[in-house]
Symmetry: C2
Subunit: 318 residues, 2 copies
Amino acid sequence: MTAPPDITAIQAAWRLIQPHVHYTPLMHSRLLDAHTGARIGFKCENLQRVGAFKARGACNAVFSLSDAEARNGVATHSSGNHGAALAMAAAQRGMAAHIVMPEGVPGVKREAVAAYGARIIDCEPTLAAREAALEALVGETGAQAVHPYKDPRVIAGQGTVALEILEQMPELEVLVVPVGGGGLLSGVALAVKALRPEVEVVAAEPAGADDAFRSFGLGELQPQTNPQTIADGLRAGLGEINFGIIQRHVDTILTVEESSIIEAMRLQWTRLKSVVEPSGAVSFAALLEHRERFAGRQVACVISGGNVDIDRLPWHAQ
Amino acid sequence: MTAPPDITAIQAAWRLIQPHVHYTPLMHSRLLDAHTGARIGFKCENLQRVGAFKARGACNAVFSLSDAEARNGVATHSSGNHGAALAMAAAQRGMAAHIVMPEGVPGVKREAVAAYGARIIDCEPTLAAREAALEALVGETGAQAVHPYKDPRVIAGQGTVALEILEQMPELEVLVVPVGGGGLLSGVALAVKALRPEVEVVAAEPAGADDAFRSFGLGELQPQTNPQTIADGLRAGLGEINFGIIQRHVDTILTVEESSIIEAMRLQWTRLKSVVEPSGAVSFAALLEHRERFAGRQVACVISGGNVDIDRLPWHAQ
């Protein structure tokens, strides 16, 4: 299962997950078009089930298991949206989900996982502890491990975002996608370059967590060290399988400052009336910060998620 | 122009304004359905142009003027969404708009009006000063005054919200609408009872600004005195023409507490990922506070607007 998916796998994923996820709307705003000089379609994955695109990859992983593989459930470690997505997908199929969660995860995220009936396994908040706990869990239960972004089934599922955008915006010239671990970016880039190679694929990454930018520039995977960004969904280090796809199919990676992320969020909240999490605003932040690249063009901008603590917004004094 | 509109006027308004306003989406949430026990369609007028249903009535008023009537522009006094809506509508038709605005209106609201090229006339923040300034303005300019909720053209425009809901949710059993001055409620009630009289029309009003509730109970128009609610769009007193329509066509008026309004807002922000202003959350607050009336039924819930200062949210310490 380590070969990257191809367009056939992404199209198959789309058929497979359609009963379980939303075909999310593409929103437009005259004000934000005027503000940027571009014609923007915002792909609202914050309106996806569980509030993030992660529902797509998790559903594809879960529903592509054979009955024999599915018997013992699925497992992952997650501090964020992937855990909830996998719990939701497993509940849809009527199977067990085991989610390793590090201590310190906000209660609201634990509750989201628990609400789908998943079993939560606590662990220390380190990557080593998370991986050890997951390995022990898989050994004990026989559950199928589903990695949040390295799993080819997950990459194929995330790529379905692009199939919808190409249908919704046939005049598309540029697609802007946030990059963290690279599951969404690699799936989307694969799909776009297979179907519409002339469309430019641009990744947006926080300057404070720029391992993808550095890896892309050097042509060699670089580690993510001490990421500093409010975009908590983009702090993960790029996966190796994801990096290979990104090298082949992504045109550019742009970094954005924290102030641009916050400005983008505020504009999306006040103008689109849409609740966007910091990671979800990073693609639009790239349009604001690199305006000249996009002016006059037809741009799709992926809002990857909307799961944010409305009691602790980044523009309030901390 | 003091006779109430009929269904023919509302249908004509819909044809007239269609090029200028959005056919807004009806959103669903499995989580909020489970939370309330009802099957809810949220009519997202927060995604309407200018961020509120007011765009409909203003466009109908502006585009139903004859060329002779339109020559000298339109005028109104407004501290909120109606001023921006009238400015937008006038700009669409290429005519002048004069908006009397009381001192103390937030800068963001003044900017919204100014951004549409309208002329702003300042006045003291009292109803008497506003009405005097508007009268002087109309005398001076010959502009057509467009009242935010008493004008039959405005009522007909607001009623088009119901035409869309009836198309979007043919299984509808109950419609819940916030009431302030009564423009939206009277237009919607007229439309629903003309086309689907078996559908129940329920108004939702803050308990701290309950003149509609009191008037409806007593059968006589009662003044709005010292309204106390965060739902700033619902502090206006019910209009007489609106009250007449409401008496004939509305089934029930329910009041809601401030705490329910805030709970409704929070649920709509976190579950629908939708930025809803306090007034816009009052209809859903009625579902939360009067749960037993709605459980098991097909309910449309109008989110009337999304213009809220995200730096001053009601759940933050003031």
